[in-house]
């Protein structure tokens, strides 16, 4: 009986103690008509050996590639220590730290995470995670609408924010009738000169991706000041690795953004088909009571020793129920554990170097690919993703590259027709000169050119 520790003897004694004849009797309050006696759609159980064989086969049925695809999920180096530690049973199999005295490991770790994350985005406070970048973005919009002094339920958002995040946010915002309105764009980023088009309209907040989906750098200082001058809150939607190098939202414009959120995946989380990742969110102190998700605070025990505990729980569903800041309960704790270990291993200088190397590698990649006839860089500056115009339709080219073992990037055509035949390419710190040469070679082949440098 897999996982069931009961002996026949136990069973007999226990049934007798309860005073029933068999286990089935314990279900006698279920009306007979509703009871079933088997699960025909479920196959018989397998031994761990058989499941191991099955899952190894399934793992091998996938195809590994050289990855130049980013678009919201990035292949970074993850130190071996990260998951060897995060998968320790005491982290892996613990519940949400409601019993603080029995959960100081998780609680101190989250406090450390909050400190690191808040520092990274340069905000006062951070929560303990949301589901992923997309939901964090949606929650940030909801939070801004709640916190804003305006009555508007409309939120401005840059055109080049992750299109899938935007779709997810629309699903999540719809019920509460919060609407996303697009900012005017030009040259791969928001057009600050066209903001006058929005004059006279009221918005709760403006959301600025950093870098944006095209890898570009939005005019965040200008936009932040503009938004603040119109009483909007500013939400920075950031790539956390980029913040090793780029100006944090807390420093945007004269007063800094109000809320920062984003996808934590680049901080030590494997690509893993899209999840589990985690969403992060941080804000200025004044907004903390509007923040969704769990928050850990430092306090003292009865002996005056430092300790950590969940706090501000009155925001949460288990206390405030239908009036909570969000319905979130289970979050992405283990991912935060990994990210905290990851950030500790890198340190600020390490994170900066990773960021700088991503940028440098992407420059090399852009240089190598644009040396091919008809391949052109669309926009600069960029961080670690860049838009390339291709001389031929993108989809078949990408398919050909994929067949050659190269994930060549994200086809921008469907989401952003104004970009034409354009692909979004990415080279993280892991891509070597060799890798880049391999991409160039394969692309040259696909374009029917000789690959000579």
């Amino acid at each position: 009986m897999p996982f069931i520790p009961h002996t026949d003897d136990d069973l007999a004694v226990m049934l007798q103690t309860i005073g029933v004849a068999d286990i089935d009797t314990l279900f006698d309050e279920i009306p007979a008509a509703l009871r079933i006696s088997s699960l025909p759609g479920v196959p018989p159980g397998l031994s761990e050996a058989a499941v191991t064989r099955l899952m190894r086969k399934r793992a091998a049925q996938n195809t590994d590639s050289l990855c130049f695809l980013g678009a919201g999920a990035y292949e970074h180096h993850i130190p071996a220590a990260v998951w060897e530690l995060a998968a320790r049973g005491e982290f892996y199999s613990a519940y949400t730290p409601y019993q603080a005295e029995a959960s100081q490991g998780t609680l101190q770790l989250i406090y450390e995470y909050q400190s690191m994350l808040a520092g990274l985005v340069d905000m006062d406070v951070s929560n303990a995670s949301l589901y992923d970048g997309a939901t964090a973005f949606a929650e940030a919009c909801l939070m801004a609408v709640r916190a804003s002094r305006s009555n508007s339920r409309r939120v401005l958002v840059a055109r080049y924010l992750h299109p899938l995040w935007r779709k997810a946010a629309e699903t999540l915002l719809k019920g509460q009738t919060v609407e996303l309105v697009e900012l005017p764009a030009v040259d791969g980023h928001t057009d600050p000169d066209a903001l006058t088009k929005l004059d006279g309209q009221d918005f709760a907040a403006v959301c600025l991706p950093w870098p944006n989906f095209l890898g570009g750098l939005e005019p965040v200082d200008t936009l932040t000041d503009w938004a603040h001058s119109r009483n909007m809150l500013v939400i920075g939607v950031c790539n956390p690795v980029a913040l090793g190098l780029l100006k944090p939202p807390g420093k945007w414009g004269a007063r800094g953004a109000d809320i920062a959120c984003g996808e934590g995946q680049p901080l030590g989380i494997p690509l893993a088909s899209g999840g589990p990742y985690f969403g992060f969110m941080a804000c200025r102190q004044a907004l903390v009571r509007q923040m969704p998700g769990r928050i850990v605070g430092q306090t003292l025990d009865i002996e005056g020793r430092r300790g950590f505990t969940l706090t501000l729980q009155a925001r949460e569903q288990h206390i405030r129920r239908s009036k909570a800041t969000s319905n979130i309960c289970t979050n992405q704790g283990l991912m935060v554990t990994a990210a905290t270990i990851h950030m500790s291993l890198l340190g600020s200088e390490g994170l900066r170097r990773v960021a700088a190397q991503c940028h440098a590698n992407t420059r090399s990649l852009v240089g190598a690919l644009t040396s091919l006839d008809g391949v052109e860089l669309r926009f600069a500056p960029y961080f670690h993703e860049a838009v390339l115009k291709l001389p031929r339709p993108v989809a078949p080219l990408l398919a050909e590259l994929a067949a050659a073992g190269i994930l060549g990037g994200y086809d921008l055509g469907a989401d952003f027709p104004e970009l034409g035949q354009a692909v979004l390419v990415c080279a993280t710190e892991l891509r070597t000169a060799e890798d880049i040469a391999a991409y160039r070679h394969a692309l040259a082949g696909a374009l029917g050119m000789a690959a000579a440098a």
Binding site: F3, F27, G105, Q108, A272, S273, G275, T299, T330, V354
Partner: protein, 491 residues
Amino acid sequence: MKREELIFEQSRPGRRAPTHAPATLAATDDLPSSVLRQEPPLLPEVSELQVVRHFTRLSQLNFSIDTHFYPLGSCTMKYNPRASNTLAMLPGFLARHPLEPDSHAQGVLESLFDLQELLKAVTGMSGVSLTPMAGAQGEFAGIAMIRAYHLARGDTERTQVIVPDAAHGTNPASATMCGCEAIEIPTGPDGDVDLDALRQVVGPKTAAIMLTNPSTLGVFERRISEIAEIVHAAGGLLYYDGANLNAILGRALPAGMGFDVVHINLHKTFSTPHGGGGPGSGVVAVNPRLEPFLPIPIVGKRDGSYVWLTEADRPQSIGRLSGFMGNTGILLRAYIYMRLLGTDGMRRVSGYATLNANYLCARLASAGFTIAYPRRRASHEFIISLKDVARDTGATAMDFAKALLDRGFHAPTTYFPLLVPECLLIEPTETEARQELDDFVQALTEIRDLAGRDVGELKRAPQTTPVRRLDDVRAARQLDLTWQGKPRTVN
């Protein structure tokens, strides 16, 4: 034990561990200085050994299933098989970019497709979407689908969601997230929903009722079919909060009870880890009337290959709930667990979970504890009320909880559901041995004896944990949410 400093306190400026980062700083001269960070972020500068030591020590400060009995009601803290973790973390699974072509991810997609089928089998539903990332998101998806269904029928006024007072807080909160109004109805003295109250609130504004069955009171809602009739007759749909599926796995089907949509917490019934707070997975299963509205993406099969179905295939979908496709790694863990269990194993889950709960309940009853619903069969969990003890001795449920920690047991859920005073909601799960339950009875009995003898001593618990009772009020009043200090100065 040496107290574990914050990682920041172990930091020293200028320390470098570049094994994990490029050995040099690459040039970024093409970036204007206006976009660059001027001050380094506050990350600790520590060696790899310091990191390993710190987080290893921190981990040891936790209670967890892997170290302690953890009878936390409503949370199904059962054993998390290590195979699920090892196999889900095979390099062939971890290396998958979410946007790579489906052709490159056939092994993952086949596993997820199979999982969808298994989930249909255990719920009796006809459609499944795996994308919700936790129970609460499953609830959101469910109510959103219900709203979409009503709207698709032109039924625009159905914005009320009925929720029993015993419901988990996420239920009303999810209703709100969907723009609905939560209407609370009371529970009868026997633990079942008060049908009269229900009849009074249903009507043309009723979008749905949200129920978990067995409820968080640890009893099976016996008149579920009647409830289904009442709600359906009023034009509403039934939402099943599957957090308690462990209790009825292979014994009854949510579809059979009349539910239209169900979410399942894979991190409960299907034993994916809680991870100190998450991640989870709140997959949803629906009957045919809600199928068109399922959130995307969904795994389909086309020409012998597995593909992600999206907007194009599911134009009526409520849409996406995440950046990509949800918590795939958690889904794989659940799939592995389900294949290990198989059909008989699943029925054993509910059987032995219920056996353990009823045994523990019976033993506590004969030890003189007050069972909240003594005339009811316990489901996979049950409630004791310490109201009498509190009255007689002053010892609260919280005192009991803390004293259990000193005795090597994690505390049950305290003060939830709210309608039972001084309650402990106890869920032993099927993976605990009888000896563990017996030891737990003994611990509770000893604590009650201590309450009678020396309640002051009891109130000093816990004494063996890394910290003693914490000042929650101070935590909320003098908010200290991030480290503000400086690295310990060099001496």
